[in-house]
Amino acid sequence: MGTEQRTVEEILDLAATQFKVPRESLSPDDDFFKKLKIDSLQALSLLTRLEQHFNIELPDYELQGVSDFRTLAERIQARM
């Protein structure tokens, strides 16, 4: 498994745990707002967990227009 794929998988694991949805229901190209049924404030709480998990800083403006897990993983990778 490539680094990017691993990052996506870790994001899916964290999102499933945080928002209590079955892990197998999440895919990399899903719109996380729709799939997790979250709003922008809840998305920020996911961002906080991701920053702590990957030990990075990711300004929220870099996530504007980002709504799928795969692109989110790319943004995180760029900060690692």
């Binding site: 707002f33 729709k34 979250i38 709003d39 922008s40 404030l41 998305a43 920020l44 709480s45 961002l47 906080t48 920053e51 702590q52 800083e57 300004p59 929220d60 403006y61 504007q64 227009g65 709504s67």
Partner: protein
Amino acid sequence: MTEFSGQAISWELKEGVVEVALHREPCNELGEQALTEFEVLVRALPELEPHSHALVLYSRLNCGFSAGADLRETYYRTQPMENAAAVESVRQSLERTHRVMNTFDVCPLTTIAAVHGVTFGGGLELALTCDLIIADRTARFSFPELRLGLIPGFGGIPRLKRDLGNAVVRDLVLTGRSFNVNKAHEMGLVAQVVAEGQALAVARSTARQLAKFDRATSSAAKKFIKPIPYDDLRQEIELFCHLFAQPAVTRSLKKFIESRDAQPYLP
């Protein structure tokens, strides 16, 4: 009055600690109701202070400490007004808010903000009036006002400048970015980082420790350490009112407030 139960805030005096809870859905937006109830607290403080050594501010809501000023309320209140009347209305509201914030800032009790989750804009400005900020790992901070054509208006810039310095103010205000508790601790904004859900418990235990100190000495030390930046606070109100009068701000607020997207408009 040793306890109060309002629609936006409640407080009680417990073992020498004034515990102030924020609990207005959806996320403790600071509007007229909260301001009016904070003014009740300000009037009650002289009666509470002789029996207390600390004041703890916290939120009972899961979303966080506070999402900041109630921009929706401000927009709908001022939108039907002529520009000059709208600015005057905002100015009066800011003057009242500053009186409350300044009272917390110079309160002779040691004040602690126990925060979690969203601590944005006016919510962060409220936390900044406290002597210590204790935050759990879910806490996230931001001054997003510039993204709407405004600056923080509840005393945030002068207090952040006083406590952390101008470089930090520039980073946070000019980028409007949000940042997590690790960053907040690293920059000195947060005194203690605690596990999720533990901020209030740790604030209470810190308050118990403070009870061991001589009250008059603690108050004298605080007065010496924490001068209130009155000139900057005054200038902040003037600049906020000047910016609020600009048509671009009304357009930004309208777009932000009317947005139904999961990711509301923020440039």
